[in-house]
């Protein structure tokens, strides 16, 4: 009993504990979201990838050069989940590109803001490694930053915005699978 009282003295008050736990949970939730996101792309399950966005989602892949200068052109420019769906469908059903293995690695997640309505702004670094079947090396296909806005749909976290801003301005040949 006395021991418990002693421990309690060293704990923060309940409200602070609660908010820190919540932040931790949110951070963990985004981290596992990104792990699932990376896995869907690595395994080229683009229908599952599509489902990680809200109906009105914005998904853009653009160069650091364009982003810094306020130029809107993106390698991929989707203004809705319908366009994301078309992208996924076209890549899976119609596009011709050499077979490849990809690893999307996401790290350094930071939650920038979390509003009471469930909207979360965050960012993370990403790296995409690509292996072509006739080369021994995995090449650094893309390196950049995700600028994200998450929203909850039916309690589940979904991407309302993901801007993938890549630093390697010279894209190696072609970007076939999204980032």
């Amino acid at each position: 009993m006395g021991k418990a009282a002693l421990t309690r003295d060293h704990l923060p008050d309940a409200a602070a504990l609660d908010s820190r736990l919540q932040a931790l949970l949110l951070h963990h939730e985004i981290e596992s979201f990104n792990a699932r996101y990376a896995q869907a792309l690595d395994e080229q399950r683009l229908a599952d990838w599509t489902d990680m966005f809200t109906e009105d989602a914005l998904y853009v892949v653009l160069s650091r050069e364009n982003f810094d200068r306020g130029l809107p052109v993106g390698l991929i420019y989707c203004e809705s989940k319908r366009m994301i769906h078309d992208r996924a469908f076209a890549l899976m059903e119609t596009s011709m590109f050499a077979p490849r293995y990809l690893r999307h690695i996401i790290g350094n997640q930071i939650v920038l803001s979390a509003e009471s309505n469930g909207t979360v702004k965050s960012r993370a670094n990403y790296v995409v490694l690509q292996v072509l079947l006739d080369r021994p090396d995995a090449t650094l296909h893309q390196v950049g930053v995700y600028y994200d806005v998450f929203r909850r749909v039916g309690g589940t976290l979904k991407l309302a915005e993901r801007r993938c801003v890549y630093d390697n301005l010279l894209v190696p040949n072609a970007l076939c699978i999204p980032v």
């Binding site: 160069s63 050069e65 989707c78 769906h85 078309d86 076209a90 119609t94 301005l169 190696p172 040949n173």
Partner: protein
Amino acid sequence: MAWQRIASLSEIAVDAVLGVDVDGSRVALYRLANEVFATAGICTHAMALLSDGFVEDGNIECPLHQSQFDIRSGKALCAPATEDLRTYAVKLDGDEILIDMEQQAEFTQAIPKPMPDRQAARPVTDTQTISATNSDPELALMKRYVWPTEGLTRIPDWVYTDQTIYEREVEKIFHGRTWNYVALECEVPNPGDFIRSNVGPTPVVVVRAADCSINVFENRCSHRAAEFCRELSGNTKEFVCPYHQWSYDLHGNLAGIPFRRGVNGKGGMPADFNAAQHGLRRLNVTSHRGVVFASYVQDMEPLQDYLGPEVLKEFEATFDGRKPRLLGYYRHTLPGNWKLYHENLKDPYHATLLHTFLVTFGLLVAGNRSLMLADATGRHGVMASAKSERKSISSDAKKEMRAYRDGMTLAEPRFMDFIEEFDSPWSVTMATIWPNLIIQREMNTLGVRQIVPTGPHEFIMKWTMFGFEGDDDEMTRHRLRQGNLMGPAGFLGLEDNEAIKFVQDGMRHVPGRQHLVKLDPAVAAGTSDSLISEASIRAMYRHWRAEMGL
């Protein structure tokens, strides 16, 4: 000493010429009545095959520029060739023709050699008498760069894979008599605005000076060659080389040299150093409808003449007088020869076959109204097509294209809408402007693509996407949405990049062969109204060979 059989008499008609390869050298074999002669197989002027030429009165006439040579002595008889052909000794053994690559023809050896050892008798300084199979670099060159005898329907791999050919292209084409795209004016709207660009592989700076003129000069310091401008774009009053602070004004003039007169009366530049002679290397510049071109040749013809009337018309259909507005860039490398990109856009055949996206959704089919235009020189082209209504696709065309699927629709079809804005019968045009520009008008998504070659096996492509001043927000977003078709992640663009890489892979892994470009024999080389045509590719190579002297 080395007589070898190379042909039989029955293979050559009287007064005819036959090309044969001997020890890797090209040899032309002639039959005049019952005498047989042999000379080097390649004209001493440009690199044409004499076996494609004409035998008349004991002379051979080159098929390319009509130089003539005496078949017996190899003597050059009429311009443009001035250098004689090397001759080889030949003799008959029954029906067999034998050649000795180390001996010249009898005619030139009328005086019998006193010494049995011909090696010793040979004047070693005379390159004509050095063995054709080894040390003479000219002959080594001839051996490798021989165009296939079939003519323009074949393209040999060395056109795309050879370092020497690539270097010659930089000299003869990119630094030669061409207008090279370097910028859009809207990228440098104000005095002091600059961008880095390239002419061929050569880095240049494009800058607007205080007098509003646009200047283009090499990005290479005239002191120790430093590539001084490192920013992709910016605004400046002068360029200062970071290495020793030499400074240049916006016209490229050398304006300042630190410690020019030395320190304490010691060191410094020679007294007679003339800064006016040490500016940056400036290029000739022209601009039309907001598109800026540069040339290493100072007396270039006007851009309008360079393009020719038909290509100029298409250029002006896209750059229709509205002011372009910069929307952003794509940049990518492509592991293929730079000419393959031109060929991809002079190859309407691939459009419905590679790009199944278009076909799956009924957006383009082989029966669409289309044109593959080549200018009179063959160097420029425009691939044009008109969007058709889905219902008008014939069942024949559908059968041809495996990808066509009735009833397949996009979830967001409006991204493929074509908003009429141009005075043109075409909804899509791809203009290939020799040597480094593609003007893309893919319905409403507009861009210029600049080819920057970096070697025979790779180039960089810089896409500058634009709209027009006066576009409202929705129009800009429509252009951006439609941009999903193009660029290195575009539904069509990524496929072209992959296909071009595959072509280069094929040549690298199975080298030394030829491409086949035979489609549409009704048009030898030039404009065709059929999509199933390679006539524009042939026209481009007719021009390329002339420019390269090959």
